[in-house]
Amino acid sequence: MARLGIALVCLALAPNVSAQASDAFVRDVRPTTLERGDTLVVECPGLVPVGTASVLIKGRFDGAPTLDGLVLTGRAAGGERVLVDVDQPLQARVGHPLRITDAAVEVEQYVGGTRTTWRSRPGEALTLTLFPRTFRNLTTALGDQVASSPGLLGHIPLPFVAAALMLLVALVIHLLIAPITGIVVVWERKVSGRMQSRFGPNRVGPRGWGQWLADALKLITKEDLIPSDADVALFRISPYLVWVGVFATVVTLPLSQGAIVADMNVGLLYVISVTSLTVVGILIGGWSSNSKWSLLGGMRSAAQIVSYELPAALALLQIAVLAGTLSPQEIVHAQGGLPHQWFIFANPFAFACFFIYFIAALAEGNRAPFDLPEAESELVAGYTTEYSGFRFSIFSLAEWTNMYVLGTIAAMTFLGGWNVPFVAAERLAGSPLLQGLSLLVMVAKVVTLVFVIIWIRWTLPRFRVDQMMTLCWKYLVPFAFAAFVGTAAWVWLLHALPALDLIMRWAMFAVGGVGVFLFFVGRVVHNFRATKLLHMDGKHFVMPFVERYIDKRLP
């Protein structure tokens, strides 16, 4: 999404340049300096790298001076690919395959004491794809663009340009996320309506999909009540902390191969740490409301979120072990488009970790069956009891955005992210069509996970406080630790027997994927057969529920 903003800015700044941008494979709009920490992918057909490898690149890049033996450190990226860290500046364009003439690449690695070398044959086509730190690179790129433009623009200092860009990106994120959240809210209400044999919202907008706008408008126009004897400053600041805690995670979550705001190399760690900011907001909100129900809700929330961060982080740690990186884009890149290439099916421990993460993330996001902080049948509305109007709307906005965040993290880390089946990740960069496809794949995965979250919420009862704690500390945390050791052992085993990887992946896919799916379908069929509900329609029955009141022509 940042790229969109950048592209718009580029268009405004240099319309003559953007015309050439479609010809990206051959010529660059403007060469960008790659810096330390950026990543190259080297495809080496015939070699399945494991662990780290050293890569020697000789040759001449387009428009760049000859390289005399550039030695880089790389690591296995799944399949016949090596991820290479750039440790000296290279001239290339971000996200696009680089053409090297007279190239020679050597990949060397030591496995179990033996040295394996892979050399590219002379004249063979080589693809080196640069993986961008999009945000930084684009900021720099735009800064360069502005700094080198003729006239007044060229005199704007770079920090100001960067600050303006950050503001723009923040705006784009909010403009994008707020509607997504709104749609998730309407969708949840529609799904719950279907589950409970009633209609969901169906009046505002086409088939009720504009309901979130009406809700937001109503909440904004309401009075912002502050209870007497409340701690006003804390009471006011609490929704913003919750808001920041959820929205800041969006920065580093990829939507597609190109659409990411900031691909940080500590992305996963950042997501885990920023999420905990919400607990501060909730605790402050519960404390400052001067209501005992709010206080109880805040206390429950503090205990719950702090506890469940542990299994969530431990589960995500397996991903760091498997991918060898914390950067979201590289994690996605280390997986593939097909299910057996996903991390969830990498080994049994990762499979278990997906569920551990999912449960823990549900609890962290205060979603049912862990919605104790706002349990309406016990605590009226928990920490939001005393909030009204816009402040309340921010709480709910954060809660539903969190569903999207949860779905994205799970899809990114365990379910292959934006990888399109049968298309190598490097090829996505050049084609807008494939970019769109990768966006669709990602959205489909997130939507599925969000649906599961909604489904769980409207099916299960709520845990009690002590049961919730028992589940976390007696089951999830020990299992997550055990799985961590298991994954580490498995990765170590793969160093010795790389062939096991594919066997295990297919086995896990057969058992974990297909098996679970078939069991589920069988269960559903069985339930349908076991229960013969008569259709109580108007023909057979007196006055059927609902239809009497609602015009059938409407959805």
């Binding site: 719950s192 589950m195 409970q196 044999s197 009633r198 004897d229 409340a230 701690d231 404390w287 400052s288 001067n290 005992k292 129900w293 206080l295 109880l296 206390m299 429950r300 049912a368 069956p369 919605d371 104790l372 349990a375 309406e376 049948s377 016990e378 605590l379 009226v380 409207w458 099916t459 299960l460 009862p461 709520r462 845990f463 009690r464 406080v465 002590d466 049961q467 339930n527 076991a530 229960t531 013969k532 509900l533 008569l534 109580m536 057979h540 029955f541 007196v542 006055m543 059927p544 529920f545």
Partner: protein
């Protein structure tokens, strides 16, 4: 702020005021709770918010004129309150009741029981946090309400029973619809069990929660499903038959459903839930059998009393949705009752809350109140 923390009596305890407007108090009831964090030290029910002096109204209306007021004794299951008043007055005046009226009373009572348990079980599931069973139950209750509307013109406060019979006869179409509903409802019970009754989280929440022993239940005067959940088989329909239950129950090989402690202790909250689910099953069977037997009765459904000025006193007992409902009525030879008295299940059940709540958590208290199936107007009348 400082008041919130410091103004707690007795050091560690915090006083929580739950109700009268709280989502889970099932009407206007208030509980004064003393908690230590999440753990309840003491919960004191404060009743009386819904007192409408119904028994006093009975002294001011004629015997027939009081019938609509009995709907308000327990508006979730109004039919049984109708029944108990009609039966009490009939005993007081030694009035004849045609057999068809008895069968209609049985059918309407059982439909009313199904509707009432829909609210009880759905609300209990919702209090434990599962929201979907509640709309499912309400959907079924709506079908019952539709049937009731067709039978007597009202969906909530029926005013169907009369002194000496019932207000209207059934039609053949209505009978078919009820039978169809029964067939449908059998499947609903299975679905409901799969959805919530045997849900592991639900069992975890309710098993061993506030188990009541039979001796305790008798001491506190618990009746109905709350008493049967303790393993004590006592049901007025079987043990002190009224209307024509004695003709119906042997034909369906009746066994009073009692709590067995299937997932925890006998008499725990889950047992109370499960007993009500079983009562659904038996109600459906009773309705089927009553509708079969009603075909053989003469068409007379109401013998309106002439010159109703009874003297003396009478008691009637009916198994209502919330258990044994008594009505004691004294006539002094006038057109009004000299004194009327209703004894209802919820008033005794709410006493259990104080007894059983010490040591529970706040979330458990909500489940306990729901499991006792307390309906606020029935407590206060």
């Amino acid at each position: 702020m400082s008041e919130l923390v410091l103004a707690t009596e007795g050091g560690d305890e915090m006083t929580l005021n739950m109700g009268p407007q709280h989502p889970s108090t099932h009407g206007v009831i208030r509980f004064i709770i003393k908690t230590d964090g999440e753990i309840i030290r003491e919960a004191e029910p404060d009743v009386g918010y819904l007192h409408r002096a119904i028994e006093h109204i009975a002294e001011k209306c004629s015997y027939e004129g009081f019938m609509p007021y009995t709907d308000r004794v327990d508006y979730v299951a109004a039919m049984t309150a109708n029944h108990v008043w009609a039966e009490a007055v009939e005993r007081l005046g030694a009035l004849p009741v045609p057999p068809r009226a008895h069968y209609l009373r049985v059918v309407s009572d059982e439909l009313s029981r199904i509707a009432s348990h829909c609210i009880a079980l759905g609300a209990m599931a919702m209090d434990v946090g599962a929201i979907t069973p509640f709309p499912y139950c309400l959907r079924e209750r709506e079908y019952v309400n539709d049937l009731m509307e067709e039978l007597c013109g009202a969906r909530l406060t029926y005013n169907y029973h009369r002194v000496g019979g019932v207000g209207w006869d059934l039609t053949d179409i209505w009978r078919d619809k009820v039978l169809r509903f029964c067939d449908h409802f059998d499947g609903v019970i299975e679905e409901f069990n799969r959805l919530i009754t045997y849900n592991p989280i639900f069992i975890k929440r309710l098993a061993r929660l506030a188990a009541v022993s039979t001796a305790e239940a008798i001491d506190f005067g618990l009746v109905g499903a709350n008493l049967r959940a303790t393993g004590f088989a006592y049901d007025l329909r079987a043990d002190r038959p009224y209307a024509l239950y004695d003709k119906i129950l042997p034909r369906i090989s009746w066994q009073t459903p009692v709590g067995k402690g299937e997932v925890g202790e006998v008499g725990d909250a889950w047992d109370r839930f499960w007993v009500r689910v079983e009562e659904w099953r038996w109600s459906v069977k009773i309705i089927r059998e009553a509708l079969a037997q009603i075909q053989e009765t003469p068409h007379e459904f109401w013998t309106p009393p002439k010159k109703l000025k009874p003297k003396g006193e009478a008691t009637a007992r009916v198994e209502a949705a919330r258990g044994d409902m008594h009505c004691y009525v004294v006539g002094d030879g006038g057109t009004n009752a000299y004194r009327a008295r209703f004894r209802t299940g919820s008033f005794n059940a709410i006493a259990m809350v104080r007894e059983k709540s010490a040591g529970l958590m706040v979330a458990d208290l909500v489940a306990l109140i729901a499991s006792l199936d307390i309906v606020a107007p029935e407590i206060d009348r």
